[in-house]
Subunit: 625 residues, 2 copies
């Protein structure tokens, strides 16, 4: 699959954008007109730079408001087009995107439109230019890709074809199956964009909220499957207008973009294989079914979803507070690593590593997470092919080699060899006889809550989806005293791994990194007993206001003794149709706190109704300090 | 008019919110339940604090999903209500907001709803509580205020009335005139919120984008006029869910909120007076028509829109660069002030003050703007009643006293005595014979472009609307290499004053204040001559890329000689149906640059199609340094 990206997706100057696209590994780019117009580079310099960088200049765009106009306007439009065709010659480009008219069209007549497009195609032919005509979702008269293709068929000129853009098609809920009926020679270009499903006007949605494939909710693998089945072999190029990407670091966004296409390529091949099986149109063999299409789809090393958390790692210059908290919660200190300055603490199968190798004065923070995977080497190879940055860790002979990658928020993610009994072999490095520590005990890491910088929230969703096979859940918003907190759960189908990605309000983010708190939650069988034990060991609980318990009683009509226990121990409570949830929080040290939870029945949430209480009390304690 | 605000409008803890509301001068507040539930203050402590602060506790809210339910659920809901009634007793509150059911209603039957509301009203009566029933715009069965009122009438119980919320009514485009048919005794509460007109689902619109009156596009004066005519005399209270306000400084947001109610009160009185005149239902005398209604509406000192800019002031520690730029542009140095370290530079009627009294190492920046008003004293009194912070300036005997206020972005705004010939009397303080400097010459300040911090963008719109009688125009978005720039023009009807408020992308805002550039634009009669003169004096123009002129030619088909002149002098060009616009920019010093413009015909814009070029070239020069 030939990969491409429109320069409008990225921040910076044209030069910065082109360099970033080359570094990220794109085959080609679309030049967004405004990026050229505002550039000090001449067309010849752009052409040379692209050649030097090994980037194809695949599409010049957009040419707007051409068709369905009065004769006078047509004449002016053809003159305008000719100027652009001359410019393209200097750039060494051969394809231009012409969007269906949104503003100046006054005549709704397919024959007239076809005549005018035929004139454009003839002029384009004289300049060796191919015109890719695209139906915009909000086109005045032409807003449906099948309509645009009918016009292309009516004109029937070698220099006129169509451009398919997933946003314009999927935002309008057009059926994508008829793409297969399009003559592949007439598909001059394919643009892809994902988007969250929002109920707003399609123009605003398109101009601000598009995201890269895998970061939204569109069925892009299906769209691409139909495109591949049609026989298309040209560029598959990202055109994503996004307010955040336009403000973010250009090189990083380009890598995120490239990752999305690599992932989309794999998903499209999967979709094709699965539908081939379903419909029996090919042999049951996936690769055989793929080989039937002219477009080659690369795949990635396969991984299953992680079986669980292997460990969580916290880090500090002075680790005393972390040790104290874990000890009070009931964790056991298992020992120090034989060569590194790290400690192992466990409760059942929940393993926490306290890393003492932090920078001077570094406050306690979450540093790394380990996940149990079938094959760390294969999972790591996949992540690297998805352009995840590798994390290097020193290892001594006969120590387990951790395969590490860096998540968008810089948390280190380690891909570890899981074991059926939930133990971890590397624990013996902390002392003899620890290989099976925790076997049979039920405490586990329930979920981890990580703060995400606003520039990398969408990137994080794609990272965990593509590299770790986690599935994004519908996102929630939680009120806090300093603003709404966007909360995105990513989890495995078996719920053994749950990550909560929180996007903090800008004020919090600006103030200081550490004011935004992250946490690790552990699940136990008997939360009341755990809380009692912790209280007896002197744990500083997050103090829950009395008003909360009154409201709880009004909402749930609880048994008085139970309510008194909750209140006595600062426990929070939630209930839904599937079960109950009890939990408590510790005070915060540095930017970390811990949570203990008990899930009763099939309760599947995180006590979301209690989150505002947590935020308010934490805010209050921060501001009192 | 009794003023109120819901605690959910503001950031912080309940205590912080209450203090801010008292400081801003609100009569009362609505307690949003979650703010109480998450507070460490007991109900009794909240009650005492409110009494100490002189704040009424006017509404407890919200109570959700009561009506239209099955008998079992009704029983649970009544129990839940009773717990809240008991709580309200401890708080010393007597009114609760009950929203129409959005989630649990299963029976769409007015008789059943009325029966259930009657049960609630009876229970409320036992506790001395008044229930204000409100139709939410997205209520499952009840989403229209007239429907809610019909239910109140059916129940006909002294403890059941209705709550009117401008958002729920205006977002659905319900006609507001029938409000006058509601029995005022049955209107227990009125909530007001403004909003920009957005085409998105009403729930998201409501939860994220509400703004304070005067900051959006709803016809709130008309809404309030009908409420006043109905005979309502209770609190008029802000309920504004806004993502930005929730993150902003609580005291400042409370003042912004209070300003919006003071302004709304005046606008409502005006609307009543104007409709009384139109319909002849009252004497032509405004105050007589106001006195007909039980609610007293305070008014403000009246001001007309400013007649023009009086001056602009730039400030720096080292002013050499500013002096050089102004001199090169053709400004004349008129002299130094006789007692202050400031210089006066003029070109025609465009007056620029260079202030040398900046902090050490302070880079050049826009510091102040002066506006010609009919009466500086009255305009200042109005601004102060609108809670604009006063700016003090030292004056000597026989110097003009400047009435100054501070805009939300800290720019100092001075209200100056205008004169019919466009001169300024204070100029004699810079030298004899300068009183009439520039009379008859045509150069003027055309517009000023100010960067707004994201937390105070909406506040700025209300500030200039209410204190200076500027009118907000539809806002635009301009692409720049570091993100989209939101651009809000505020201007007078006669176009003599034009302010452009720009909201910079967050990345720019984070990096450094000074990377976001502001400018002053001057209009001249002959831009080409001005540019030639400036070039001859060695001005460093903002360098416009050659690609721009090619695109310009493709778009406008310009006369070759004219195009060559534009290119030679780095001039930008725009044209629309009403006229033409020529302009150029200087290089930037500190955070300031200057623009020279020529308006031909009735061209009324700012060369918006050229703004991306300006941003790109400025970005490029910043990044090259």
């Amino acid at each position: 699959m030939r990969t491409g990206i429109a320069t409008v997706c990225l921040s910076g100057t044209l030069k910065e954008k082109m360099q970033a696209c080359a570094i990220a590994g794109f085959d080609g780019i679309e030049i967004f007109e405004q990026d050229l117009v505002t550039s000090p580079l001449s067309p010849e310099e752009v052409r040379k730079m692209a050649a030097d960088l090994g980037l194809g200049l695949d599409l010049y765009q957009p040419f707007r408001d051409f068709d369905g106009v009065t004769p006078d306007l047509l004449k002016a439009n053809l003159k305008r087009a000719e100027a652009k065709f001359n410019l393209m010659e200097r750039l060494g480009m051969d394809t231009i995107l012409v969007c269906s008219n949104v503003a100046t069209a006054t005549i709704d007549d397919d024959h007239l439109r076809a005549e005018q497009l035929a004139e454009l195609a003839a002029l384009a032919g004289d300049h060796g230019v191919k015109v890719a005509y695209e139906a915009l979702a909000w086109g005045k008269y032409v807003n449906d890709y099948e309509h645009a293709y009918r016009l292309v068929e009516m004109v029937d000129h070698p220099n006129l074809g169509t451009c398919l853009d997933s946003f314009h098609i999927l935002s309008r809920d057009w059926d994508t199956a008829p793409i297969e009926n399009i003559n592949a020679e007439k598909i001059f270009f394919v643009q892809v964009a994902d988007a969250p499903k929002l109920s707003m006007d399609v123009l605003s949605w398109s101009r601000h909220y598009r995201v890269f494939p895998g970061e939204g909710q569109f069925e892009l693998a299906k769209f691409m499957g139909h495109v591949v089945r049609a026989g298309y072999t040209g560029p598959v190029s990202l055109e994503v207008f996004n307010d955040v990407f336009r403000q973010s670091d250009v090189e990083r966004t380009a890598v995120d973009a490239m990752r999305s296409l690599i992932w989309l390529e794999e998903q499209s091949a999967k979709w094709l294989a699965s539908t081939a099986l379903e419909t029996g149109t090919a042999a049951g063999n996936g690769s055989a079914s793929r080989r039937r299409y002219p477009m080659e789809l690369a795949t990635l090393p396969k991984v299953n979803e992680p079986a669980g958390f292997n460990f969580a790692e916290v880090k500090a210059d002075d680790t005393a507070q972390l040790e104290k908290l874990l000890g009070q919660l009931g964790f056991e200190f298992e020992g120090r690593h034989r060569t590194k300055d790290v400690q192992l603490w466990t409760m059942g199968q929940a393993r926490v590593i306290i890393n003492e190798q932090a920078a001077q004065h570094a406050e306690p923070a979450i540093a790394a997470l380990g996940f149990d995977v079938d094959s760390p080497v294969i999972a790591s190879a996949r992540a690297q092919q998805l352009k995840a940055p590798v994390v290097a860790r020193k290892v001594q002979a006969d120590e387990e080699v951790f395969q590490g990658i860096s998540a968008p928020d810089s948390t280190e993610i380690f891909l570890c060899q899981g074991s059926p009994d939930g133990t971890a072999a590397w624990t013996h490095e902390f002392g003899e006889g620890l290989e099976h520590a925790g076997a049979g005990q039920t405490a586990v890491i329930d979920h981890v809550n990580l703060a995400q910088p606003w520039q990398h929230f969408d990137e994080a969703v794609l990272f965990y989806t593509s590299a770790l096979a986690l599935e994004p859940q519908p996102f929630a918003e939680v009120p806090s005293p300093s603003g709404l907190v966007r909360s995105q759960v990513m989890q495995t189908g078996n719920k053994a791994v749950r990550l909560v990605l929180n996007l903090a309000p800008a004020q919090q983010a600006e103030k200081a990194r550490k004011t935004y708190q992250e946490h690790i939650a552990f699940a136990v069988d008997d939360l009341v007993a755990t809380a009692r034990g912790a209280r007896d060991r002197g744990l500083e609980f997050l103090q829950i206001p009395a008003n909360y318990y009154e409201d709880l009683d009004a909402r749930f009509d609880l048994e008085p003794g139970f309510l008194a226990t909750l209140k006595e121990l600062n426990l929070l409570y939630d209930r839904d149709a599937s079960g109950e949830f009890l939990h408590f929080y510790t005070a915060t040290v540095g930017s970390v706190f811990f949570e203990m939870v008990e899930r009763r029945g099939n309760y599947d949430g995180y006590g979301a109704p209690n989150a505002p209480v947590r935020h308010a009390v934490q805010y209050d304690s921060l501001h009192r300090v």
